[in-house]
Symmetry: C2
Subunit: 687 residues, 2 copies
């Protein structure tokens, strides 16, 4: 999709990658300041966004910049034709064109919302180097592939206060997300201030909830960045916190308390109790007042039906109402809920499970099951969006999420059905994520999902994505996102003020990643909302810079064969090995032994003469066994450098079919229980 001009002075470091970029020789120097003009109806939003952009640039430059010290400033024109909705709607025109020449910058868009998207691109284009500050000479034409590009934030399992949401909005703006989806009520917390039923937040939140005033501020800040805010109230399951306030609404009697454990619980609202609908009517009225967006999410997921099955009245009701099974009963409840929402002009969104033939076709299905279930919904006439593959708390690397497409190339949908696939949402569930960890488990990987939803499907170069994400990561940190700093701080705290120990833990951690998927819940059984998230497994980040760099340097060495590259790799392995050796007698012992041995494998592989055909196949087979053993260690962290180490071993077997060896090893590792995602983390997605 990249079309290059007559000369390419460098790569374009923008996430999401625009639809079309033409780059030319030369640059647009802006050290002398900017003469900024905007032109279009309304424009407060554009002016505020321009001020944020300029403030960010001034922070990077470290000098006042709105005045002109002698030389003429560089002109910038931001122009748009009509004002988008004050509270943005689904499907607004977000397209823009950005032309930068030596003479200045022109950004044109159909709407002010498009202008904001163009500003997010422009902000990322500034280069500050020894030559001063300049912009590359480019022609960019850009528009999103999907109209619904969301980030779902679970504020229930662990509370995230307004300050976290505010800085999240700044990150979202840079990555061109356009929907913030707030998961406001779940078993472990009811986080919405209800004025009609204050017991809900009083008894259901431990005092940690958003006031309506705070939510209005979030909605306003989102609208100023031109994105929507969709609230979610999960019913009828995931509702234990509601029952802590109103146990009489439950399907089984009991003294309900806010749930502290993770997982799927039995507590569920009683669909035959008219009071349930009375409370929902009041609550949706409040919700509609605070959140102007036409969509309300009602959850609808993971109701195990146990309490319904054990309630004779509910079973009787099903018989008399002709409801064949629990899904049918839940669909019946959903239709009643949907009618309440219609009264406020709202359309309903729900997770996969709400999909039922009886539901009105304006319901939007959010799929946590996969692109197939999304396609199925589209075939049945429902609009939908993908979240399967986009759960950032699963701790996969960016490239893994990047490989998931709401509309895979091989789909068998008609054009009309395809149009029903609105996009997707990255999701951050917070069972294992505290406030301090939130930014590190969200950024910059969320931007990989944002790019998948914005850029053309053909944009799939993961190495280029990783390079651009590293640059974006700096920009995000400049906006106040904390993803860069919290790992180090948590490690320093673990070291109890001993800098040498902090250094060792830091080096050790730089070869690791948190285990992916929900394997952690199987390893660390009994963890609850009261478990301190202060371990090394909480500090380490998925997709860390250390393993990424090591993998890249291994590939470069295998390609170029430069001796000093091998030396650098060996130096890195010795550093990791040395740190691991010092941790063998600690709680991290098993993992440390495995890492040390894996590093030894790498050092042995590097010590073989380059490409020597004489290397014993026996040694290589054993080495691969050792790496597979390192992969099989039971720990809440994975060794994240095993695949490049395997590449080093395989490279000693040139002439003996290393590819076959690799495939065999991969199969062996995949066959080991629960290790599928280790390989997924370390490898580019298949196919």
């Amino acid at each position: 999709m990249l079309t290059q001009g007559d000369k390419a002075p460098g790569a374009i470091d923008v996430v999401p990658l625009p639809v079309s970029v033409e780059q030319f020789a030369g640059s647009c120097p802006v050290s002398a300041g900017l003469e900024w003009r905007d032109q279009g109806p309304g424009g407060d939003r554009v002016r505020e966004a321009s001020a944020r952009l300029l403030a960010g640039w001034e922070r990077r430059l470290g000098c006042a910049w709105t005045f002109r010290p002698g030389r003429p400033p560089s002109p910038v024109l931001v122009a748009w034709e009509k004002a988008g909705a004050a509270i943005p709607l689904l499907g607004e025109d977000e397209s823009y064109r950005l032309e930068i020449s030596a003479a200045g910058t022109v950004l044109r868009a159909a709407t002010d919302l498009g202008a904001l998207r163009g500003l997010a691109t422009l902000e990322q284009l500034l280069v500050v180097d020894g030559a001063g500050a300049w912009l590359p000479v480019v022609k960019i034409a850009d528009r999103p592939r999907f109209p619904w590009r969301g980030l779902m934030v679970d504020v229930c399992r662990h509370w995230l206060p307004p300050a976290v949401i505010r800085r999240t909005l700044d990150g979202m703006a840079l990555a061109k997300f356009n929907v913030l989806h707030l998961h406001l009520a779940d078993d472990q917390g009811f986080r919405f201030e209800s004025r009609t039923h204050p017991r809900l937040h009083e008894r259901g939140s431990d005092g940690h909830y958003f006031t309506q005033a705070q939510l209005r501020e979030i909605v306003a800040a989102a609208a100023a960045r031109s994105f929507r805010v969709v609230p979610e109230m999960d019913v009828p399951g995931h509702a234990t916190a509601w029952l802590a306030a109103y146990p009489e609404l439950a399907s089984q009697p009991g003294a309900y308390a806010v749930e502290r454990r993770w997982g799927v619980h039995d507590a569920v609202l009683d669909p035959t109790n008219e009071k349930v609908y009375g409370l929902l009517a009041d609550l949706f009225a409040e919700l509609a007042d605070v959140f102007p967006d036409p969509f309300v999410h009602i959850g609808g997921d993971e109701n195990n039906g146990k309490h319904w099955g054990e309630n004779a009245d509910i079973q009787k009701f099903m018989v008399t109402s002709g409801l064949a099974d629990h899904p049918a009963l839940q669909a019946w409840l959903n239709r009643r809920v949907q009618r309440l929402l219609v009264g406020h002009g709202k359309q309903m969104v729900g997770w996969d499970e709400v999909l039922h033939p009886d539901l009105p076709r304006d319901t939007v299905i959010q799929s946590w099951r996969g692109a197939d279930s999304l396609a199925e919904a589209a075939r049945r006439g429902f609009r939908g969006m993908l979240s399967s593959g986009y759960y950032l708390d699963h701790c996969h690397p960016a490239a893994w999420h990047y490989g998931k497409d709401p509309l895979p190339a091989d789909d068998v949908l008609t054009e009309e059905e395809r149009a029903r696939v609105l996009g997707g949402e990255a999701a951050v569930w917070t069972e294992w994520i505290s406030e301090e960890m939130f930014d590190g488990r969200t950024w910059p990987r969320a931007a990989a999902v944002a790019e998948r939803l914005w850029s053309p499907r053909a944009v799939t170069d993961t190495a280029d994505l990783e390079r651009r994400l590293a640059v974006l990561s700096e920009r995000l940190a400049e906006h106040g996102l904390q993803h860069e700093q919290n790992e180090g701080r948590m490690i320093r705290r673990l070291a109890q003020g001993d800098p040498a120990r902090a250094a060792i833990l830091g080096i050790f951690a730089s070869a690791l990643a948190p285990i992916a998927n929900y394997r952690r819940s199987r390893l660390q059984v009994g963890h609850t909302q009261a478990t301190q998230l202060t371990g090394l497994e909480d500090a380490v980040r998925p997709d860390g810079a250390g393993p990424q760099r090591f993998a890249r340097e291994v590939e470069e060495w295998l390609r170029d064969g430069q001796a000093d590259a091998a030396q650098a790799l060996a130096g890195q392995l010795r550093l990791w090995r040395g740190a691991a050796a010092q941790l063998i007698t600690t709680e991290h012992g098993t993992l440390a032994v495995a890492l040390a041995d894996a590093c030894d494998v790498g050092l042995e592989a590097l010590s073989y003469p380059d490409g020597a055909a004489a290397v014993a196949a026996d040694w290589a087979a054993e080495a691969m066994d050792r790496l597979a053993g390192a992969a099989a260690v039971r720990a809440p962290m994975d060794i994240a450098i095993l695949v490049p180490l395997h590449r080093l071993v395989a490279a000693t077997q040139i002439g003996r079919g290393p590819e076959e060896g690799f495939a065999g090893w991969r199969r062996r590792v995949e066959d080991a229980a629960n290790l599928t995602d280790l390989v997924q983390r370390n490898l580019p997605p298949r196919g």
Copy 2:
């Protein structure tokens, strides 16, 4: 001052160190949560501060904590007898007692302000480790030594937006500062929104100014943390930005523009022009309305008198008014200004130069000249406070500032005169400090000044201070202060996305410090407000962890003589040497050559047999020459490890009087032009 209990389970990591700490065996476990009660009149301030404390603790714990998972929570009582002023005044009672036992925590204070100071102590006492979360068992009795403990922030030379001030307030609360002094107008910017004379901020600020609404929010946030806010309007000098709006108020005709250069400028208000007082009357009325504090700072510093001397009317006025010289004329102006302030119930604060026999004795003198001039003011009946020695932008290490005392032990003042010394203010002038650098040039060193002003004079252990500052630094970062992260980010930016280059620059920088005092302005002539502050000298921090650790480890090795300590020192020196070697052909070449040679000196010293008397005195003399040469390099950064390296060389000369050798070397280095502060940085203060 520390009295220990029957057992001392560990050091108390609190800044400022309390007046009296008794520590006992045992601990107060708080993992099961807290049952928090407060008791006293009013109390919104205490409840807000308690909520901030608990939120901070929950962030560190990574778990919800206000509920009780089974075990009984630990009780906390915060009690105070009377409410302090809603807008705190000079001299409020800030004392408190804090008793923590295994059974719980009791914090008692005379006022809610004292309770807030106690909470700042309590917050720092929490320990989170493998045993969970706990508090040490202590009895603390505490009160401040001085009632005026300020931080002055210059928002004129480089603009600092409200977000920076807001996070600064959080840092100040932790360090028990109680005055925020905002330097709002100077040659390079007029940063106060004037509604009576909007031209002042419109033409004098490049659009970078505080609105009155923003300032009211800052005052409210400060009052909530129980500190005062003192505004400064610098007159009659440092007023070029005023004249950009109203050139007719100047002492010489001209088209004035906002000054972009640093230093002392000729532009000065005309004291004989009645319009000057008209404008000041309007402005002070606005200022009094926004800032409720009874003190207003009028600057009064660095008027060179040139334009007064060149203005015949002004000279004539002096003759007819019997004003002998320019200081007398300025004192005449100050008296008129002071009368305007009295009209709003305000007392005047000014820099040293305002001190004049004709001034009313309720004027407060802020001394930038030193403790002697402060004592002189006290003798003459003026109240005063110290800022000399507390200029954080001078880039001295914390220990250096810590050695400056507003009331040195050898003062010759009477008790009455001593009572006039109200305290002091750390000051951050921003000629060489951008928004991005501000936190790193302010924190955690500001807390060393805060401790000097709070803790007893006898508390002077710099090694203990450095240890505690390192812990406080983490707490500050958890509150959102950015001092930890910006150095790395700026270095990564300098490396243009090349991680290997960033690593080399980072290692190189970890042996360096920015040059101290205003030597930078003599080295980098011609720098202005438009100069990008993006160099390595802007990124490196004074008082970095690298040199501090190296110095400490050298002392430990000299004391204990353990072989692996010597190996670790050699390893560190080789790391620095290796990084320097790779930068020799860059803009940092001269400094890199000097650092590499200095590291060689250290490695040679370490290679001598331990304590061998046979080491040639010739080698040592030459080695000291080489270190002195490294100190003399002209660069905007200093090598910050020269003194410990000298200690290593001297240690090879045991039996030949190393102390004498050291004194001689020190004299030689001090004699070299402009190098006094290099030694000041590296050595504990003399005497």
